[in-house]
C-alpha cells in the first residue's frame, strides 16, 4: 500500500516532467495524489487541505526560476510547504535541565523516559528520573527496571498516590543531578482532573521543557489532544514514538502545528538505545512514501546550477577531459545515478534498472583512468596516442580498450555540447546532455 502510494505520486510528478508550461490539470492531479498520501499518513485533514491549496496556488502562480524545469519547480514548492508545516526540529540543549513528559495512555512515555535518560547519560551528563505515574500498576517497576539497566537513579514509590508529592520530593533527591526527566501518568485531554494534575506538576517542577509524546499511529485526534495539552502546560517539543512500525507519524505533524513547537526525538525500537534526533527529510520521505525529497530537490537545483562546470569555457567549445572529470565527480556527489536520472527532466524515457549499475561502475572506472593521465593529456586529449593509451591503461589497471572507451565517451560529450551551442539559448542544458549521455551508455 505504501509503495503504491509513492508510485502514484511519482507518476503524477512524471507527468510534469519535461514540460515547459505548467499545466493546471497536471498540478491538480499531483495535488490530489499528495492529499491522499498525506491523509493516509494521518496528517490532519484541515492541514492537508490548507497545504494542498498553497501548493496549487504557488505552482500555478510562481514562475519557475530560470533553468529549472516545471517538475523541479513543483517538487521544490511541495517540499518547502511541507517543511514549513513541520517547523524546525526542536532544540535539545546539553546542560542542566528538567524535562516533564506528557502524553496519552500507551503512547510510550515510560520507555521514552528511559531512552532520554540514556541519551543524556551518553552525552556525559548526570541524569536522574522521577516516576510520577502513581496510577498505572507496575509503572514504577517498569521504569525502575529500565533505569537499573543503565545505572540511572530512579525516584518514585509504588505505594504513594500523590504525584505532586513525588515530584517535590524527587526534585529534592535529584538536586545534585544535571538532567532530570519526569515520567507522568498517561492522560488524555478530556480528563480534567488529570490535566489539572499536570498543570500542578509543571508548576511544582518548574520544568525547562515540556515534551509531548505522540504515538506514530495517532490519527486525527492528534490535533485536538496537542492543542489542549499545549493550553495546559505549553508544550515545547514533540517526541514521536513507535516509528519502527508501519505508521507514518502524520499525527505528530498535526501536534507540531498546534503547539508551534518542533519534533525533538523519534523513538524507533524497543531497546533503550533506540532514540534518534529528528531528521526532517527522512520524516517527510516516510510521510509521502517517496525517496528523500530534499536530496532530490537539492540535486535538481545543483544540476541546474552546475557550479562545478565552467559553463563559459564549455560554450566556447573548450570541453576538456578535466571538465568531464569534474562533471563525473559532481554526478558522483549527487548520489546514485538512478536517483539523478529519476529527477532529471527526461520525460518518460525508460532506462532499464541494470543499465544504471553498469553505468555507475563505468563512471567509476573513467575517473580512475583519468587519474592516470598527465595534466597535458587532460587539457588536450588529442595528444593521446596508442603508446599513451597503453601507459594510462597500465597505470589505471584497466585494459587499453577501457581507455579508448573513455575517449569515445569524451568525444560524444564534446559533440553533444557543440550541438547545444548551435541551438543557442546560452544555457547549459543538462537535459540534453543527459539524454545524449544516456544513449551512449
Amino acid at each position: 500500500m505504501l509503495d503504491r502510494l509513492g508510485t502514484s505520486l511519482k507518476d503524477a510528478l512524471k507527468k510534469l516532467a519535461g514540460r515547459t508550461v505548467i499545466d493546471r490539470t497536471a498540478v491538480d492531479e499531483l495535488v490530489r495524489d499528495l492529499q491522499r498520501a498525506l491523509l493516509q499518513a494521518d496528517v490532519n485533514v484541515k492541514l492537508v487541505m490548507q497545504l494542498s491549496q498553497a501548493i496549487k496556488q504557488r505552482s500555478l502562480e510562481e514562475e519557475p526560476p530560470k533553468g529549472m524545469g516545471v517538475r523541479e519547480h513543483v517538487l521544490r514548492i511541495v517540499y518547502q510547504e511541507i517543511v514549513n508545516l513541520m517547523g524546525r526540529p526542536g532544540e535539545v540543549t546539553l546542560g542542566p535541565q528538567t524535562i516533564l513528559m506528557a502524553g496519552l495512555q500507551g503512547s510510550g512515555k515510560t520507555t521514552t523516559v528511559a531512552k532520554l535518560a540514556r541519551y543524556f547519560q551518553r552525552k556525559g551528563l548526570r541524569v536522574g528520573v522521577i516516576c510520577a505515574d502513581t496510577f498505572r500498576p507496575g509503572a514504577y517497576e517498569q521504569l525502575r527496571t529500565l533505569c537499573d539497566r543503565i545505572n540511572v537513579p530512579c525516584f518514585g514509590s509504588p505505594t504513594e498516590t500523590d504525584a505532586r508529592k513525588i515530584v517535590r520530593e524527587g526534585q529534592q533527591a535529584c538536586r545534585h543531578l544535571e538532567v532530570v526527566v519526569i515520567d507522568t501518568q498517561g492522560r488524555h485531554a478530556f480528563e480534567e482532573n488529570l490535566i489539572e494534575e499536570i498543570i500542578d506538576l509543571n508548576r511544582i517542577s518548574r520544568a525547562d521543557h515540556r515534551w509531548l509524546v505522540i504515538d506514530a499511529a495517532l490519527g486525527q485526534q492528534a490535533s485536538e489532544q496537542a492543542r489542549r495539552f499545549h493550553e495546559a502546560i505549553e508544550i515545547d517539543g514533540v517526541i514521536v514514538t513507535k516509528m519502527d512500525g508501519t505508521a507514518k507519524g502524520g499525527g505528530a505533524l498535526s501536534a507540531v502545528s498546534e503547539t508551534k513547537s518542533g519534533i525533538v526525538f523519534i523513538g524507533s525500537g524497543e531497546t533503550i538505545e533506540d532514540l534518534e534526533r529528528f531528521d526532517p527529510d527522512g520524516f517527510v520521505s516516510r510521510l509521502l512514501g517517496m525517496g528523500d525529497l530534499r536530496a532530490l530537490v537539492e540535486r535538481a537545483e545543483e544540476a541546474v546550477a552546475g557550479e562545478d562546470l565552467d559553463v563559459n569555457a564549455l560554450l566556447k567549445g573548450k570541453f576538456t577531459l578535466r571538465d568531464m572529470y569534474k562533471q563525473l565527480e559532481a554526478l558522483n556527489r549527487m548520489g546514485p545515478l538512478k536517483q539523478i536520472m529519476s529527477m532529471l527532466p527526461l520525460g518518460n524515457v525508460q532506462i532499464p534498472d541494470d543499465a544504471y549499475d553498469i553505468t555507475s561502475a563505468k563512471m567509476q572506472r573513467y575517473r580512475v583512468v583519468m587519474d592516470s593521465m598527465t595534466a597535458a593529456e587532460l587539457d588536450d586529449p588529442s595528444v593521446i596516442g596508442s603508446s599513451r593509451i597503453k601507459r594510462i591503461a597500465r597505470g589505471a589497471g584497466v585494459s587499453p580498450d577501457d581507455v579508448r572507451d573513455l575517449l569515445k565517451y569524451y568525444k560524444v560529450m564534446q559533440r553533444a555540447l557543440k550541438g547545444m551551442r548551435g541551438l543557442g539559448g546560452g544555457k547549459f542544458n543538462m537535459q540534453r546532455m543527459m539524454k545524449k549521455f544516456g544513449r551512449t551508455l
Binding site: 500498576p137 490519527g219 512500525g245 508501519t246 507514518k248
Partner: protein, 362 residues
C-alpha cells in the same frame, strides 16, 4: 462515541437531499405523495438492493422518459458528487482510513447512481437507507461474549494480541472483571514476559480483582506461561483463561512467529485483537497483518473515551471483517462496554432513522 461523525453525517444527509432535489427539477403540483416503493428493503448485511428494482443508465433520454412516464427521476453521478465529497471528508476527519473511505464512497455511489426516485418521496429515506446499508455492511453483526462462553466447552481460552501500548494488559483486567460480574471464574496468564513491569502490572490488577494469575519470571517463554495457565484452568475447572501477550509490531517477523507458536500451544478459542480508537490509517495495515499472520476472531477497541469519533472501529471492522466485542472507555475496571453494531449505526444516523427502523420490522 461517534458523536462528531454523527453531526457531520447529519449535515451531509441534508446536502445529499438538496442536491438530489435539485437534480429532480420542479415537481408537478398535483402529484400526490405516494408510499415509497423500496424503502422498506431490509439492509441487515449490506446486501445490494432487491433484484426487482430497476436500474437504468441515467442518460438524458432515459431520465426524461422516466420523468414523463413515471414521475420519477434517475440519479446521476454529478448530482451527488458534492455531497459524496463531503461525506468522504467527514469520514477521513473521523479517522476512517483512506482505503476504507474509498470503499464506502464507492458503495454509496454504486447504490445511488441510476436509482429511480419517485418524485417528492422523502430524499432522506433514500440516503439514509444507502448510508445505513453501507455502515451496517462494514460493522458486521457483533459478538456476544457471554453467549459465546455459554455455548462452548470450557475452559474458554482467550488470547489477547496487538501492537505496543494499545492497552492489552488493562483490557485483560477489565474483561476479567466483566466476566466475574457475569458469574464466570477466571484465570489470567501473564504472557507479557518482555516489557519491564508488565508482570507486576497484571499482578496488581489480579490482586485487586481477586483473580488467580499464572506467572513466570520476566524473560520466560510466553507459551510456557500460558500453557500453565490453561492447565491450571483445566485442573481447577475454571471457565475462562485470559492470556495476555507482549505488544509487538506486525513488521517483526520473529515476534509474529512467536505469536503463532503461542497460538499453537494454547489453542485459543478466541484470538482477540486489541487496538486503540485513536489510531489513524495504520490501524488498517496492522490489523490486516495480525489477521493474516496470526489470525484473529474478534476485536477490542480501547481508549474510546479519548477519541469518540470511532473511525478506527469502522476501519478495522471493515479490514479484517471480524466483530468488535468491547470498547474500552476509561481507566476504571468497569469502563468496558459490549459493542453492538446495529445500535451504533442507529445512533449514528440519529433519531430520524426511526421511520425506517419501523419499516424494517415485519
Amino acid at each position: 462515541m461517534f458523536d462528531s461523525l454523527k453531526k457531520r453525517l447529519h449535515a451531509i444527509r441534508n446536502a445529499f437531499g438538496s442536491s438530489i432535489e435539485d437534480a429532480m427539477g420542479p415537481a408537478p403540483e398535483e402529484e400526490v405523495e405516494q408510499p415509497l416503493p423500496e424503502a422498506a428493503s431490509p439492509v441487515q448485511t449490506g446486501e445490494t438492493p432487491p433484484a426487482e428494482e430497476k436500474r437504468e443508465r441515467p442518460t438524458v433520454i432515459n431520465r426524461l422518459k422516466v420523468f414523463v412516464k413515471e414521475q420519477e427521476v434517475l440519479l446521476q453521478e454529478k448530482d451527488i458528487q458534492e455531497p459524496l465529497f463531503e461525506l468522504e471528508m467527514a469520514l477521513l476527519e473521523n479517522d476512517v482510513a483512506l482505503p476504507v473511505t474509498d470503499e464506502i464512497i464507492a458503495r454509496m455511489k454504486e447504490d445511488l447512481v441510476g436509482r429511480r426516485r419517485r418524485l417528492r418521496s422523502s430524499v432522506d429515506v433514500l440516503v439514509l437507507e444507502t448510508l445505513r446499508s453501507a455502515l451496517c455492511g462494514v460493522l458486521g453483526d457483533g459478538l456476544n461474549l457471554i453467549d459465546y462462553i455459554n455455548s462452548h466447552e470450557r475452559p474458554i481460552k482467550i488470547l489477547f494480541i496487538g501492537v505496543n501500548g494499545t492497552g492489552k494488559t488493562t483490557t485483560v483486567a477489565k474483561v476479567a472483571n466483566y466476566l466475574r460480574k457475569h458469574g464466570f471464574s477466571v484465570v489470567i496468564g501473564a504472557g507479557d514476559t518482555y516489557r519491564a513491569g508488565a508482570i507486576e502490572q497484571l499482578g496488581t490488577h489480579a490482586d485487586r480483582l481477586d483473580v488467580k494469575i499464572i506467572r513466570h519470571q520476566a524473560g520466560a517463554d510466553p507459551s510456557a506461561v500460558l500453557f500453565d495457565a490453561v492447565e491450571y484452568a483445566r485442573a481447577h475447572r475454571i471457565d475462562v483463561v485470559l492470556a495476555d501477550t507482549a505488544g509487538r509490531f506486525h513488521n517483526r517477523a520473529n515476534l509474529m512467529n512467536q505469536l503463532s507458536k503461542i497460538r499453537r500451544v494454547v489453542k485459543p478459542d478466541l484470538v482477540v485483537y486489541v487496538d486503540e480508537a485513536v489510531a489513524g490509517n495504520d490501524a488498517v495495515i496492522r490489523a490486516d497483518e495480525f489477521n493474516r499472520t496470526v489470525g484473529t476472531d474478534a476485536v477490542v477497541l480501547t481508549k474510546a473515551d479519548i477519541d469518540p469519533k470511532g473511525g478506527a472501529a469502522i476501519s478495522i471492522a471493515h479490514t479484517i471483517k471480524k466483530p468488535i466485542i468491547f470498547l474500552g472507555t476509561g481507566q476504571g475496571y468497569d469502563d468496558i462496554v459490549p459493542f453492538e453494531p446495529r445500535a451504533v449505526v442507529d445512533e449514528l444516523l440519529g433519531g430520524e432513522a426511526q421511520c425506517w427502523t419501523d419499516s424494517e420490522r415485519p
